[in-house]
């Protein structure tokens, strides 16, 4: 997908961990997961694990635990580790010429399998999919919104990544 490197660079400019940062990373990783590029899988898997760990540590910061300061240190450490891996991802995306169009058929299949959408929407999406149109800005934006919602769906279902 066009613009992924830019999106990643914007995330890498963040100085601190935040809810926005975590959601941005999750959305980006989910988008990359649905591109037909198996070479990225090990790196994406590592990043997913780091995001998931950071999210759970970050959630403890808002609690009134006496170990709050300890958790802050853990969050900072995990945030830096995640950024290191994200730098590696950026380089890999640049090297590969920035990926391609997300495979909507795989995304639709996954959403149906996980119960996020019904059969009718799944069938509609498959019949309407046209990769030539995916490069258009309005289609890309709509796709990003769907990815963000599906990412939220997975997160609420229990933080699982499939």
């Amino acid at each position: 997908m066009r613009g992924e490197v830019e999106e990643l660079e914007a995330l890498l400019r963040r100085e601190d961990c935040s809810r926005d940062f975590l959601e941005g990373m999750e959305r980006l990783l989910l988008g990359l997961e649905f591109q037909s590029d198996p070479g990225l899988s090990p790196l994406l898997l590592r990043l997913r694990e780091l995001v998931s760990r950071l999210r759970s540590s970050y959630s403890l910061l808002s609690s009134r635990t006496p170990l709050r300061e300890e958790w802050r240190r853990v969050v900072n450490y995990e945030f830096l580790r995640l950024k290191e891996e994200a730098h590696a991802l950026r380089e890999e995306l640049r090297r590969r010429g920035c990926g391609g169009i997300p495979d909507l058929r795989r995304l639709a299949e996954e959403m149906r399998r996980e119960g996020a959408i019904g059969e009718a929407s799944w069938a509609l999406l498959l019949s309407a999919w046209d990769p030539r149109e995916a490069e258009r800005e309005e289609v890309r934006k709509a796709l990003l919104r769907v990815l963000a919602l599906f990412s939220e769906f997975r997160r609420r279902r229990g933080g699982g990544w499939g």
């Binding site: 929407s121 509609l124 019949s127 309407a128 289609v139 709509a142």
Partner: protein, 48 residues
């Protein structure tokens, strides 16, 4: 010869317009499908 050229030009233009219309229809149906999926996902999230 001039008339033939004009006819070919008109035919080519017609085909181009039809092709662009079809492309637009495809894009709109894809956008509608994505919109429907977006609504469905929002509903699922609201229910949860």
């Amino acid at each position: 010869m001039g008339l033939l050229f004009l006819l070919l030009l008109a035919g080519g233009w017609h085909l181009l317009v039809r092709w662009e219309e079809k492309r637009r229809e495809r894009r709109l149906s894809l956008l509608r499908a994505l919109e429907r999926v977006e609504e469905e996902l929002r509903e699922v999230l609201d229910e949860g």
